[in-house]
Symmetry: C2
Subunit: 223 residues, 2 copies
């Protein structure tokens, strides 16, 4: 009786296509990301994830070993998406190089390039969970540091290319400059979320903060 109960409404739309294992996994991962972001890793129960995804715990344990294993996978997926998103946007910005106007504007453009499409707040919260875990668990730390290093490289490259294109000089080695930018980028977001700013204001606050850093980092050769 009650077959189909537990299937969420939006499932109806998805059903025609292959209701594959991968689909289920993806939905569980998405749901987990949301719940983690809302209440934090430790406070999240497997049950809450399943409920959100429209499954029961049977589906969960059929797809994942444990909450921890799911989190690791989720973090990996998030990281690679993040890096990929930045990579694409960096490539796009460099492509459109001739259009870059001034140093400050370029840097604000960089900020926008860093923002992966989707819910920023969710991304920041998830990132903060990953960092928290990375500080306590060596396995997670390894993954986090690898992703961090990749991000740094991408941003560093962008900075170098922009500087070169505009005939400007970086006041720091590119990697150090990138680290400073990324740290400020994340820090600003955390403050904005704690302050309860809505999505749009968050982006503006972040852009402003990173714009400041940009001014410091890029030197005019004329000076």
């Amino acid at each position: 009786m009650n077959r189909g109960i537990g299937m969420s409404e939006q499932d109806a739309a998805l059903r025609p296509q292959t209701r594959s294992r991968e689909n289920t996994r993806a939905r569980l991962l998405d749901a987990a990301a949301q719940v983690f972001a809302e209440v934090g890793l430790g406070e999240t129960s497997v049950e809450a994830i399943c409920e959100r995804a429209g499954f029961t715990r049977g589906a969960f344990y059929s797809n994942f070993e444990s909450k921890d294993q799911l989190f690791v996978e989720l973090a990996a997926r998030f990281a690679s998406r993040q890096v990929e998103g930045v990579r694409e946007r960096v490539a796009a910005m460099i492509e459109s190089g001739p259009d870059l106007r001034g140093d400050r504007d370029d840097m604000v453009g960089l900020v926008e390039a860093l923002d992966v499409p989707g819910d920023v707040r969710l991304g920041v919260l998830l990132m903060s969970e990953i960092k928290g875990r990375a500080m306590r668990d060596a396995k997670t730390a390894e993954a986090y540091l690898a992703q961090d290093a990749q991000m740094l490289r991408e941003v560093a490259q962008l900075l170098e290319e922009i500087a070169q294109a505009k005939g400007l000089r970086l006041a720091l080695p590119a990697e150090d400059a990138a680290r400073t930018v990324l740290t400020a980028w994340e820090g600003a977001a955390v403050r904005a979320i704690a302050a309860g700013l809505p999505e749009q204001a968050l982006l503006e606050a972040r852009a402003k903060e990173v714009g400041r850093i940009a001014h410091l980092i890029i030197e005019h050769p004329s000076l």
Copy 2:
């Protein structure tokens, strides 16, 4: 039977003096700070805190309403200590103004001034828990933002005083400069902990990072 079981060994030393309620509260708070730092807020059970403190849950519920309430109190205590520590050290640095040598060295000195005595790792982990909660809970956010603002003011003041004493100029408004410094300061620590660096290396990595920022922020008027 078994009177005294549950009393930790170090208690023996404390016992002669007034075994006051405050003492118990303080010990529970200390224990909570350690456990929170080790496993995270959500993963911490009241039982674990009590065990660490050498009490049973009876003592806990006799002194605190809940884990949440204890955490709020702990965060407040931590914040005020942090602010107080910085304030004192800032005052000390300003006092010894004539001895300041060069801009970079002054800034590295500033970093050291920021480090509150005690376990840095514990402080960073605790701070990160507070931030995580602040992003989800308005009450905690309020406290966090207040403390953050105070810290910013202290550091901003220090920057201004140093600049003035040395005849240098800040490239940014003092508050913005302070925010940049503090953000980098925290970010560097998180990376260092994730990388598994020991206490000493952590401090060095942090000093190096903040030193870089210092160079960017302080302008030589001669230029």
